[in-house]
Subunit: 331 residues, 2 copies
C-alpha cells in the first residue's frame, strides 16, 4: 500500500500540468461576468462545440472567434483612441510643418478646435490620418504606437490605454483559447496601430489581428531594406469589409463573433450564416457610472440597427451594466 | 525496491508525452536531408536561436519562418500547378461559354495549343485566371481547388498534387515548429488555391498562408450571406510584394526565409536585413533524375540573380541533388 503514494502524487502533478487543474477542480473562468442568461449562453455554446460526443461538436481548427476592438475589447468613447493618437502625432510633427498653422484641418487640430476638425468630415479626417500614419517605416510606426499607447493616459480614468481593455473580455478570450479556440481581432481600426499591443493586452499575436490598412512599399532606405508606409488607403475593414477581411486574412468563417456597433453587423451575419452552432454577440454600452452610455444616436460606435435586429436574429446583447461584474482590470 | 517500478514507468510515460521522446532519445529530425554544410547550417541556426543562454536567442513569438510554395514546398515544373488547374477549369466551364470556341486565349486552351496560350502573355493569362477563379463563392472555390488537387495526377510522377510536397521540406517545417517556430507560406500563388490543402500537406493552417488574391465581396446570394470572388486582382504577392505581404499578414519580420526563384529575393533580403541571427535559403532545382533541372533560363521559377548574389549575401543554396536524400514522400 505504501507504494501507492508517490504514484498518486505523480498523477496529481500530471493533472496540474495538463489542465492547470481546470478539469480536476472546476472553477469559474469568467469571474467578471455576472451570472445570468448571457454568461450561460456563452458557457453553453463553448461546452456544446467542444463536446466530442455532442451534435454541435466543432474541430479545434475550426474554432475561430473574431472580436471587434474599439468598444468591444477596449474603450472607444468619447473619441476613438486612434484618432487621439493621430491628433497627438500632428501636434508632435507640427514644428516640421509650418504650413499646418494656416491649413485645415491641421490648424483646427493645433488650436484644439475639435468642432472644426469634426466638420472637416471624412476628407479632413483622412488628411490627419495620412499625415500622422504614413511616411515612416513599419518598424518606426510600431515604436511610435506602442510608446504612445503605453504612456498616454485616458482623461477620465487616468490610466494608460493599454490598461483599459475590458476585464470580462480578457477573461472570455482566455476562456475561449483554453477551449481550443483561436482568437482574432477584426477591427475597423488600423492594423498597425493595434498589433504592437495586441499580445500584451489580449494575448493575441500580431498575425491574428485584422484591421484597416494603408499601402506599403518595400524599399532600400539609408542602405537598409525596410517597409515604408504610404499615404494611401489600402483596405477599410469595417461593415461589409469585415467578412472580406476575415476571408482574406483568416480564410475560414468564424463560429463566434463579438462586436458592439452597426459596423459589426456584417461580421456577425457572416458568422451566424455558417453551418452548425454559432454565437453572435454585441456589447451594449449602457453603463454611464463605470464607463459610458451611448447607442442609437452616437457618432462613435453607433449601435442602432443591431439593437433592432438582435431579437429576431438571435444575436446576444451584452449589457455592460448588468452582465459585467467589473469593467476594467484592477490596478 | 519493488515500489520504484511503477514510478519510473510513469516517468517514462511522462517523458514520452512531453517531448515525444525527442529530448530523451535524440534522433535525426531531418532524415531526408543528407549530412553536409547545408544541413549543418540549418541545425546550427535553429540551435542558436533557441538556446536561452546564447547570444543569438530569439523569443518563440519572434521565430517566424516564411516559405515560398511553388518550387520550394511543392513542384512547379514544367507548368505551375495553379495554371494547370485554371486550364482544367476552363475546359470544364466551356459548355457554358460557347463564345470561348472563337475567343483567344480560350480557343487555344480548349485546343490544347499551349504555344498560343503562352503567346497571349500576361493579359491572356489573366483572362484565363479570372474566368476560372472568379464568379463563385469563396466556399465553392475552396471545394473546387481541394477536389482538383486531391484527384488530378501530375503527369510525370503519376501522383496527385497533394502527394508532391517535398519530403525534406515537410521535415524541416515540422522541425522548426517543434522548436517553437511559427511557419508561414508566402507565395506568388493564389491564397485561395493553397489554403484548402496547406494544413493537410504541410501542417500550415489557412490563416498562416499569404499569397496573391483577387477582390472579394460580401453579398446575399440565394438568401445566404457569402463571399463572392470578383474578376479583379487585389494583390500580387511576388518579388517586392512578398515583404509587403509579410508585413500586412504577419506583421513581423521573419528570421528564416526559404525560396527557390528570383521572385523570392526580396523576401530573403527583408528577412536577412533584420537585427540578430537570420537564415535565408534557396532550393536549386538541379536534379533531372528525381525531379527537374532548371534555373537561369527557365520561364518557370527562374533563378538567376539569386544564384549570382547568394555567395556575397550569405544566402544558402540548397542543392536538390546533393542535399536531399529523397525528394517526395514514400508512397
Amino acid at each position: 500500500m505504501g507504494g501507492k503514494r508517490p504514484f498518486s502524487a505523480v498523477l496529481v502533478c500530471l493533472a496540474v500540468f495538463l489542465g492547470g487543474c481546470g478539469s480536476v477542480f472546476a472553477h469559474d473562468q469568467l469571474p467578471s461576468w455576472n451570472d445570468g442568461p448571457v454568461k450561460t449562453a456563452i458557457i453553453n455554446f463553448v461546452t456544446a462545440v467542444t463536446d466530442k460526443d455532442g451534435a454541435d461538436y466543432v474541430e479545434p481548427a475550426e474554432r475561430i472567434a473574431t472580436f471587434d476592438n474599439d468598444g468591444t475589447l477596449w474603450l472607444e468613447y468619447p473619441i476613438y483612441t486612434q484618432l487621439l493618437f493621430a491628433i497627438d502625432r500632428v501636434k508632435t510633427l507640427a514644428p516640421h510643418h509650418p504650413e499646418w498653422k494656416t491649413t485645415q484641418p491641421f490648424k483646427a487640430v493645433l488650436e484644439g478646435d475639435m468642432e472644426t476638425v469634426a466638420a472637416s468630415g471624412m476628407e479632413g479626417l483622412m488628411k490627419i490620418v495620412m499625415a500622422s500614419h504614413a511616411g515612416m517605416t513599419a518598424e518606426q510606426f510600431t515604436e511610435e504606437a506602442s510608446q504612445w499607447l503605453a504612456t498616454t493616459k485616458q482623461i477620465r480614468f487616468d490610466r494608460t490605454f493599454i490598461e483599459l481593455g475590458y476585464q470580462p473580455q480578457l477573461e472570455l478570450l482566455e476562456y475561449l483559447r483554453s477551449n481550443g479556440f483561436k482568437t482574432f481581432i477584426v477591427s475597423g481600426g488600423g492594423i498597425a496601430f493595434m498589433r504592437p499591443v495586441s499580445e500584451q493586452m489580449y494575448g493575441i499575436p500580431p498575425e491574428q489581428v485584422v484591421g484597416s490598412s494603408i499601402e506599403e512599399e518595400f524599399v532600400i532606405q539609408d542602405g537598409k531594406y525596410v517597409i515604408v508606409r504610404q499615404p494611401k488607403i489600402h483596405f477599410i475593414d469595417d461593415k461589409a469589409g469585415k467578412p472580406v477581411g476575415i476571408n482574406r486574412y483568416i480564410g475560414r468563417r468564424p463560429i463566434l463573433a463579438f462586436g458592439n456597433s452597426d459596423g459589426d453587423i456584417e461580421m456577425v451575419e457572416y458568422t451566424m450564416a455558417g453551418e452548425g452552432r454559432r454565437l453572435g454577440l454585441f456589447v451594449h454600452h449602457d453603463d454611464p457610472e463605470r464607463e459610458y452610455a451611448y447607442d442609437r444616436k452616437s457618432h462613435v460606435g453607433r449601435m442602432d440597427k443591431a439593437l433592432d435586429r438582435a431579437g429576431e436574429e438571435g444575436w446576444i446583447i451584452v449589457s455592460m451594466k448588468d452582465d459585467w461584474k467589473s469593467v476594467f482590470p484592477e490596478q
